[in-house]
Symmetry: C2
Subunit: 258 residues, 2 copies
């Protein structure tokens, strides 16, 4: 049982949790909790290390056996070590080191999201989870976005990392790959109401930064601006709520073929 | 200039920030930041105390003058005191003590939300902000909800406290007041798709707890269950995103009179 923070694996995990540069160099990230480990195993992710703090029930034992078959070194650690490795104040009983996943792109690519300068990690994670729920086929991570393997993004995305392709790109790169797409920029109150545009065909939804909106390159790339009609008195919606509503509206139209 | 944490006003503010019981006893709460103070002034809230840390620009001076005309004692405090009074790690330059607001109920009451056991303060705040945006006329705070004057709720609600009636109620009380309403319970995957029910007429949307769903009394009170159709692989949506989508769908139908 590992009980020392100077253990090499412990040091690796703590570095991965806190440093985006280390995650990029090693192409690894950390997942926490049984639920995410189940998602990783279901996706046949080539797990590297699994730490747990003992007291396992039979289904958890079976989960760790599956992780081991995927290549993971499974180790029991003291609760103190798990806490030292965790990004949360109340760590769940297990965490794992996973390589960055290259989720294969669907073909044909028809419905994507572009996150421009989404700096809040909880927001990016929840947006990824929501995008997956509504059938988005890939998320383009544009300049200014928080690192998608940040522990708070991973927590909010609820396993989307294992199923949703993530593409880091500059605006010229994204525009070249999305040639022929209509790119809709989410605005607070400008442009066309979101239920008055067509969401069918090849569509990219551009989300801007929570605080400053979309950048100049995103604005230039957009083929239309859309907003959510609001009858009430509030001036704006939370960025994540707005993204959810636009994705719902898009999915609703794309589903009904009439 | 106040520089001591043993000042009576400082002690009051710190107690209000940290203790729901003190907020309920005094019927007061704390708002932080210029934006919320603008909302309070626009709502003619009878402000009690405003603390600021100096260095004011002309529009801020004018705002504090308006606050003073509404009855506030305006005081400059040291940055350390402002930090000691703040619920955030990076306090903005001002905060204020405000009485609980009794926002008058619209008549006829037709579109309400019932929050059942929403325990996460950021979630309740964002749900209140979203409810206001989509024309909800009152939010019923059912048993198990976090205190609506919790500083994180106040931050997330972005001024909804000044415009949206809040009603604390038990289930029998709410059912008596909402006699004749159709009460739709938000579910993850059970019931009727949310775009296949009628949202017109007298409607109450019931939101359950993030972790455990709605309680037994909420389930018994519901006249129908609704869910958000999701074409993708994710199992569920974040509670706040789901609430936003249902409110959007409801508002969209209620707006179009066809």
């Amino acid at each position: 049982m590992i009980t020392s923070v100077s253990n090499e694996r412990v040091k690796l995990i703590r570095t991965l949790q806190s440093q985006a540069k280390a995650r990029a160099r090693e192409k690894l990230f950390v997942i926490e909790g049984e639920r995410l480990l189940v998602e990783a195993v279901n996706a046949h992710a080539p797990l590297r290390v699994v730490f747990h703090s003992g007291g396992l029930k039979p289904p958890q034992r079976s989960l760790l056996n599956q992780a081991a078959r995927l290549g993971a070194t499974v180790e029991e650690v003291s609760p103190e070590i798990l806490k030292a490795c965790s990004d949360t104040t109340t760590p769940s009983g297990m965490l794992a080191v996973v390589p960055w996943i290259e989720v294969p792109l669907a073909a044909p690519l028809e419905f994507v999201m572009l996150a421009d300068g989404l700096a809040n990690p909880g927001n990016l994670g929840t947006v990824m989870r929501t995008a997956e729920a509504f059938g988005v086929q890939a998320v383009f991570l544009m300049p200014g976005c928080v690192d998608a393997y940040n522990p708070k993004v991973v927590r909010g995305a609820m396993g989307a990392h294992f199923r949703l392709p993530l593409i880091e790109a500059t605006w010229p790169e994204a525009q070249a790959r999305l040639n022929g797409f209509r790119l809709y920029l989410a605005e607070a109150a400008e442009g066309t109401p979101c239920d008055q545009v067509s969401w069918r065909g090849r569509i990219g939804l551009i989300l801007g930064s929570e605080a400053e909106g979309a950048g100049a390159l995103a604005q230039a790339a957009a083929t239309a601006r859309v907003f959510i009609p609001m009858p009430g008195k509030a001036e704006s919606l939370n960025a994540v709520v707005a993204a959810g509503i636009l994705l719902y509206q898009a999915a609703r139209q794309r589903r009904s073929r009439s």
